[in-house]
Symmetry: C2
Subunit: 133 residues, 2 copies
DNA sequence: AATAAAATTGTAATGATTACAAATGTAATT
DNA sequence: AATTACATTTGTAATCATTACAATTTTATT
């Protein structure tokens, strides 16, 4: 499924800018920051504004086509892979690594039937291969 | 175990300010922000500086006596309960609720023997009892 | 007491994010 | 095709949590 299909399916009007951001997220599973996305797209869309990236990602997140990651203290990060997986962040080099081999957490929490769960994020922190001593 | 014991045990020199912050964290399991801690302690320690709260919580986190929570986009939050549990945040009222009935995630991740895991945080998001329709 | 080291404080800088109004683009209607 | 309404984008300015840093105060050491 390409960028256009995803936007249309989620009732997002596919403007040039939105298509470019969606396309970027589908080809860069690097958990990019707003700045990284902007820097990458800016040359090919010279009029692009950083505010548009913020607006677009905010819209995408509301519609569930990207995930917001709060794993990094400094910047918001986004993930175009919305399937269930966790994330690991290296304390030293700040690399963010996907963790796929995880059992899904319960979407209905035992002992908390009163809560409506929309999303679960699991963040591991430690040292990656290169940074551990 | 009281505030003094915890600080001494973790090689943290127990100054007046540090004791006050530790004491606060042991009596307020509300996942407070820096501002909330500062506002609460400021009247009884008139010279207190917000920078000291930042410094102190940063030190506490390094020494493992409090947990940093990245569950709230706006502010850092801290938890004086360092035992294993997850957190839920209501999208509407922003309340943060402890989730205790969770099985611990694997500290050694299957499929990722190269990673050294120091910490795991699980964040649920959704609507609390009062805010669900 | 004098000196050194550590902790605290206040102010200023940083920098990501948001607010907002103007400009542009798109769709609908006559 | 002109007109109107509406949605999107853009640029600038404001916000505000956090950090940097130097000065001051406190605590420990000789």
């Amino acid at each position: 499924m390409d960028a256009l299909d995803i936007l249309v399916k989620h009732d997002i009007k596919p403007s040039l800018q939105r298509l470019a951001v969606m396309e970027y997220m589908l080809t860069h599973f690097t958990h990019p920051t707003v700045d990284e996305i902007f820097s990458s797209l800016s040359p090919s869309i010279p009029t692009l504004s950083k505010t548009t990236i913020y607006n677009t990602l905010s819209l995408f997140e509301e519609q569930g086509v990207v995930l917001y990651l709060g794993i990094d203290k400094k910047n918001a990060r986004f993930d175009g892979n919305t399937s269930h997986h966790a994330h690991f962040r290296c304390k030293n080099c700040n690399a963010i690594i996907d963790i796929f081999n995880q059992k899904p957490e319960d979407v209905v929490l035992e002992g908390h039937p009163e809560l409506v769960i929309d999303d679960v994020q699991t963040y591991y922190t430690g040292y990656c291969k290169n940074c551990k001593k």
